[in-house]
């Protein structure tokens, strides 16, 4: 897929997302024009962009969807729950087609025919036959039906509009200097003719001054024309682009009346010749225009108001025109607030800023060595700015979780229907921001948690009523920040986890021994164990046979944690704690064998220096006794240097112990020296080191030195594996020594 197609896919996905949100909201507020407009605009924009790329099947399908939406917008078809469901299916269909764009084979969509037929059945023409339109909730419509002339005028209007909508409408106003630059407008027309058939072209006389006023070398020419073309809007725009300074407006086929109204507002002649141009572009008939112009002469009123008070232009057309203009303006402002940037550009920026920070640190060091106070101060200022720049750069990757959260409205709606349960999704803190990569990667685990709650947590309506709860169950999805972390909770007010049942299953599966005693919270944790969830507990709704252990693994892969709380009959709450970003890690800088390593700060428990007894223990065994507990050790240097190291028979004096924790297990990490906390920008291992387990990546220290970021859990496993191999390899002396493997694995 090329870059432009990718952008199209990404944008369309967003639009469809928005469409779905609006559809869901429409269920509760069927008369909300804004929502209908939002849905319409999404379809309209997708069709327009698809036109740019010539994705014909998408255009064709979306066109039908759009038509029905337009009928709804114009109050010709009333909105209903069935209709909303139909649009949901259409949205899914469009999404499917967009997602299939990168597949080379032609894909068949058996659903399409069905959908098209349904869409057509609902459309205005059939609705009119069954005279549903008079029952429509739209106020404008009922007013109109009282006005017999209106009825008559609607027909020519709409049929004319349909004619117009088959072709592009192009407005061209040449720049004053066009003649002087030797540009020949005939060339423009011949180029346009190559793209399609010019149906109608009218030179705009309103802009041409009288002979006494004209500067005959200035160009005042402009045209309104319609072009029948299969080319994309972009291709047409490209042809017209070479005309310096010209004002060009292109309305694609099936542009709406509102679009024309907007066009009028944007054209220079709009103020004094609205009626004239409405005529020229075919939105008004000659007789209607004549009426208005006569009246305008008599009363001196404004054309727009007149059009409405005379009941000639449909009131909603003018209203939508005005509304659309306001909205378009608003949207333009929002567009200005967001720029789509490729993720790798951001990464590059973050990298460069990282280098800058390192460079700054070097300069700062040099300045200190010189004992030049002024220099030091200047450097200090720069360092502060650099720090701010770095924070800003890292912040660029942050997006609100709402994008992901809002998807679940649909999930909840659909599953609730399937399960015959009544369920409401409440979202709190959707504007909480977190790294885009993290946002993307929590979608699946969250889906699973929510499905789980709906499936196993929330009861059937009847059961709920019997339990004295409201019929409708509530799932609350919330997010908030907590010192460098984001906390996401999935909460339901269902029946809670059944500890006994979990224990029974766990025993069946052999996860716990038959007579093991456990407290409740330990039992709850069992559902995250691999092998707990099997086909029996995962029904078709709970996804692709994925258990809760996968949820835990996904979250841990993001350096996060999962905790579960539950109260019988009150509901359960799953709490995810995630780092705000994957690009940066809070770490502790240690040295082992003269090399620098970063221990992730969240894995650290404490640092201690060893006493003589502990040192001996550390040397002889792979564990020490710490406060009456046995602490297995990771002896990185020994592991790394192998036998050569063993022969030293003595630990260096400077040895320190960093106690780290993973999976609720504590391990001691033997290191040479401690160098304090750092914020490390993570650089991936790269293809050469990709297979290296135990390390999450590289980072560059302030000195420019490369350091490795430890992945404690993996490191422990990898060390244990090496240990075990070593033991297999050489028959070791102490049989009663504690095996690191057993503790760790």
């Amino acid at each position: 897929m090329d870059e432009n197609t990718q952008i199209f896919v990404a944008e369309s996905e967003e639009l469809l997302e928005d469409m779905e949100q609006a559809l869901l909201a429409l269920e509760n507020a069927p008369n909300d024009d804004d929502l209908i407009n939002r849905i319409f605009r999404a379809a309209h924009t997708i069709k327009g962009s698809a036109g740019l790329f010539g994705f014909d099947s998408i255009i064709a399908f979306t066109h039908v969807v759009e038509n029905l939406l337009d009928d709804i917008r114009n109050c010709l078809v009333p909105i209903s729950t069935e209709l909303i469901s139909l649009f949901m299916r259409c949205k899914d269909q469009i999404l499917l087609m967009i997602e299939d764009l990168d597949s080379d084979e032609a894909v068949n969509y058996p659903e399409i025919e069905d959908l098209l037929q349904l869409l057509k059945a609902y459309s205005a023409s059939s609705a009119a036959n069954s005279s549903i339109s008079s029952e429509s909730s739209c106020a404008n419509n009922s007013v109109n039906s009282n006005n017999p002339t209106q009825q008559n005028q609607d027909d020519p209007n709409s049929s004319k509009a349909v004619n117009e909508r088959d072709s592009y409408h192009i407005s061209i106003r040449l720049d004053q200097d066009t003649f002087r630059e030797g540009f020949d407008p005939a060339m423009m027309f011949s180029q346009l003719s190559e793209l399609g058939q010019i149906n109608q072209a009218k030179v705009v006389l309103a802009a041409i001054p009288k002979i006494s006023m004209i500067d005959s070398e200035n160009c005042h020419l402009g045209w309104e024309l319609t072009l029948n073309s299969t080319q994309s809007k972009q291709q047409i725009a490209d042809v017209l682009e070479f005309i310096d300074g010209a004002m060009i407006k292109i309305l694609p086929p099936s542009s709406q009346i509102a679009d024309y109204s907007q066009l009028i507002a944007e054209l220079p002649e709009a103020d004094h010749a609205l009626g004239q141009i409405l005529l020229e572009i075919g939105a008004l008939t000659q007789s209607e225009l004549q009426q208005v112009l006569n009246k305008q002469k008599a009363e001196g009123g404004l054309t727009g108001d007149l059009l409405i008070s005379e009941g000639i232009a449909q009131p909603q057309v003018v209203k939508t025109a005005i509304k659309t203009q306001n909205k378009v303006r608003k949207e333009k402002q929002q567009e200005r607030e967001f720029i789509r940037v490729a993720a790798d550009k951001l990464d590059k920026l973050v990298n460069l800023v990282g280098e800058l920070v390192i460079g700054g640190a070097k300069i700062s060091q040099l300045a200190q060595n010189r004992n030049d106070v002024e220099l030091e101060e200047s450097v200090e200022e720069i360092t502060q700015s650099l720090e701010e720049i770095r924070e800003t750069a890292l912040g660029l990757r942050m997006t609100p979780v709402a994008n992901t959260f809002n998807r679940f409205h649909r999930v909840v709606r659909d599953i609730a229907n399937d399960l015959n349960k009544k369920i409401r999704l409440k979202i709190i803190g959707g504007d909480t921001e977190l790294d885009k990569t993290v946002v993307d990667r929590i979608a699946d685990p969250l889906t699973h948690l929510i499905r789980n709650s709906m499936d196993h947590g929330l009861e059937m309506p009847q059961q709920r009523l019997q339990a004295g709860k409201p019929e409708e169950g509530t799932i609350t999805l919330s997010a908030f920040h907590q010192t460098g972390y984001i906390v996401i909770e999935v909460k339901d007010d269902g029946k809670g986890l059944d500890a006994e049942k979990i224990l029974t299953i766990a025993k069946e599966r052999g996860l716990v021994s038959e007579n093991q005693k456990m407290n409740r919270s330990d039992i709850y944790k069992l559902i995250f164990e691999p092998g707990f969830s099997t086909a029996k507990t995962v029904n078709n709704l709970s996804g692709r046979g994925v258990g809760m252990d996968v949820v835990r693994r996904n979250i841990e892969a993001l350096r996060g944690t999962v905790t579960i709380f539950s109260e019988p009959n009150q509901g359960s709450r799953v709490v995810l704690r995630l780092p705000l970003t994957l690009a940066i890690i809070d770490g502790f800088h240690v040295k082992v064998a003269n090399e620098s390593f970063i221990v992730p700060l969240d894995a650290m428990v404490e640092c201690i220096s060893l006493n003589e007894v502990q040192k001996k223990d550390a040397l002889r065994h792979n564990y020490i006794k710490l406060r009456d507990e046995m602490l297995p050790l990771i002896h990185l240097e020994k592991n790394w240097r192998g036998d050569a190291y063993d022969q030293q028979q003595q630990l260096p004096d400077r040895i320190n112990l960093v106690v780290v924790q993973f999976d609720h297990k504590k391990v001691g990490l033997l290191v040479d020296s401690l160098h304090g906390e750092v914020q490390a920008v993570i650089k991936p291992l790269g293809s050469v080191f990709n297979g290296l387990s135990g390390f999450a990546g590289f980072t560059l220290l302030g000195s420019g030195q490369v350091a490795m970021i430890m992945d404690i859990a993996e490191l422990a496993k990898s060390v244990a594996k090496t240990e075990r191999k070593k033991q297999d390899f050489v028959e070791r002396r102490s049989r009663n020594r504690v095996d690191l493997n057993e503790v760790l694995l």
Partner: protein, 104 residues
């Protein structure tokens, strides 16, 4: 449609008639209008025409209409007709439907 009211003067354009000639042509037209005469253009000998001249013709037509005077093009050379059609001004200059467009 206004009936022909006054005597008409003929302005003949010939050979290459382009932006280099419009200033002079404009003066000529203005003089005729000041005299209160309708104008009849003769384009039969035109070899080359450009948009600046066509614009001037359009302006003349608008101005004449305002003064209740008549605008007419008696004969076209093939080149002139082609050029006027090429920039979609034939409706106004050839088919003489200005009055309708002006809505008067």
């Amino acid at each position: 449609m206004t009936a022909l009211t006054a005597n008409a003067e003929t302005i003949q354009l010939a050979d290459e008639c382009t932006i280099y000639d419009v200033a002079e042509l404009k003066e000529q037209i203005q003089n005729v209008i000041e005299r209160g005469a309708s104008i009849c253009f003769d384009l039969s000998n035109v070899m080359v025409l450009d948009a600046a001249v066509v614009q001037l013709l359009l302006s003349t037509k608008i101005t004449l209409a305002e003064h209740d005077l008549n605008f007419n093009i008696s004969t076209f050379s093939e080149a002139a007709l082609a050029f006027i059609s090429n920039i979609y001004c034939q409706d106004i200059l050839v088919n003489n439907n200005l009055a309708e467009c002006e809505g008067e």
